[in-house]
Symmetry: C2
Subunit: 343 residues, 2 copies
Amino acid sequence: MAAFTSKDVARIAGVSQSTVSYVMTGKRPISEPTRRRVLDAMAQLTYEPHSGARALAGRRTQVVGLVVRFGVGGETFGLLPFIETIASSARAHDHDVLLVTADEGSAGLRRLAGRALCDAIIMMDIEEQDERVPVAAALSVPVVLIGVPADPAGLHCVDLDFEAAARMAVDELADTGHDEIVVVGYTAAAMERGLNFVVRVLRSVREHGQVRGLPLTVIEPVERGREAIAKVADQLLARRTGGRLGVVVPHSDTIVPLLNALRKRDVVPGRDISLIGLSTDREAEQSDPPYTNVSGEPRDVSRRAMETLFWLLDPTSGVERPAIDLVAPRLTRRTTVMPTPSN
Amino acid sequence: MAAFTSKDVARIAGVSQSTVSYVMTGKRPISEPTRRRVLDAMAQLTYEPHSGARALAGRRTQVVGLVVRFGVGGETFGLLPFIETIASSARAHDHDVLLVTADEGSAGLRRLAGRALCDAIIMMDIEEQDERVPVAAALSVPVVLIGVPADPAGLHCVDLDFEAAARMAVDELADTGHDEIVVVGYTAAAMERGLNFVVRVLRSVREHGQVRGLPLTVIEPVERGREAIAKVADQLLARRTGGRLGVVVPHSDTIVPLLNALRKRDVVPGRDISLIGLSTDREAEQSDPPYTNVSGEPRDVSRRAMETLFWLLDPTSGVERPAIDLVAPRLTRRTTVMPTPSN
DNA sequence: CGAGTTCGTCGATACGCATCGACGACGCGC
DNA sequence: GCGCGTCGTCGATGCGTATCGACGAACTCG
């Protein structure tokens, strides 16, 4: 691996270095015989262009910056599918992915753009009030947000439509004849952090509960751990005063423990109580029992984000993208919602 | 963000461009007043060096390539802690992380090295026979493997000491007076893929079971999903013919479902049967019930891998690193192993 | 007090590629 | 048969940084 240069390729192919470059970029016509000689020479040397030189001369890096937040306590809301989708989408466009953690805050963003480390940035886990958003908006490279802050500052956002998801859950419970709804919130830390989607779901469920005329309670905050979940289960049972109680659990990490806690109390979801979770279909299917859920596939969201990103990099390459792109959720009925009473 | 250059900094500071460079690298002495003027100018312009130019001239990128395998079916063995640790360790050394997925195979490696995209590579999820290992060994940049292939080809490897972990589990069961051991294997796909650690654990448990004179059965393959786990539970109960049965579960994904299945059958781990899992402590603690486990913290492994990597990048910077670096596991007793009978 | 050092700075160059302007070889129309 | 546009290629230049050799100044030591 002696690290060949385009000059080496040129020499072997018997052409000038610039011709080699034009073969690669296609920015000028090259005759078929010449092109072939050049390609052969490249193959023979297993030539790879030096990315640094390319970035310097061509002012583009073929790298996408990805800013992720690793949960402090390991609470990483299914981060992996996002990352995976972004990585493979980037590769499909001949780009690579540079990973930056969110705990660098705005400094990471400035580094990415200032050092010309990447051509564009995807930033995940956007908070309602996110100090990084204005910084990102001022960068010299396009930025796509996964998550919708209070003020996107002109940046493109992609996210699951949590408001719609909340409405769908409420509608499903209302349509199947429930007469009360309880929403299980999330940890105080998450709520405080302005963790976007939990807040939005709670708000939307509240509103839509009113629209459908269903009394609605929110249990919050709900910490992690057996005891906390057990307490929630008890609260649910206390509320279940003979009526048809529907529970909405916006956070997938809470669902399985809650199902276990209910089972321990001999309460069967789908018979004695109803439960709808917000989670990926995969989690909902593999649970025991499989629960009815409203899903947003991380893959859909990040795929759309990447489409937007590459459109920003080359606006001629497709149709205009919406500034705020909300992915529609989907309700899948499984076993945890009581059927409508037949009388 | 007009993208300033070191020349701009030099002009403002009233020095030459090379002086600015020497201030940054510290490779030549600079007087204190000059240094200060230069640093002030940098701060004033919020100057950031162009990474491409730096890579070109300085032949180093300050980037670490990370090759990960996203599980085909989402079976990503706690990948995130590895990635997180690697990312933060890289940042601590003023490096960034370029993420490459394993499905590019060796091509990804060649690209990383050939295009000078990074200074060193960490490759995870190494298989027993891994076609990428010889390729990696021939690269122009140092490579550290997380996982130990049959032939490391001279590369440095870091991994949990699975053999030791298996022995510890067997010892614990033997020491607490069990008279039979069952090992729950993993999916056929994983085994076939040569998924390193499962294979090694099975082998080591077998061997050490013999040493300790305990009859030992391996249940394999074990697929995912409720039914498969249920079948395993039934098999375990069938074997439990009055004796003291100890179960070793090498894969953390299998443990919780198995605990659930046992509970459903009114078998209480720690009273009627013993179970030791291989998993992170976090998983073991948060399970219901918390199970006795032998842990290897992903963070320990990836931290050591990064230490080795930076040592390879600068061998003068610390003590020599072992070619094969196995992290010692730790047994933590919780609730799922029956205590030694007191008679 | 002169020869040899070390210190601090500068100018020039190379790194590997993309791109621009130039230019010869053609093909076309009249 | 001559001007003109197009095609295909080349040489030269610039991108922003690191580094090397040089050089004056200050300092050391005999």
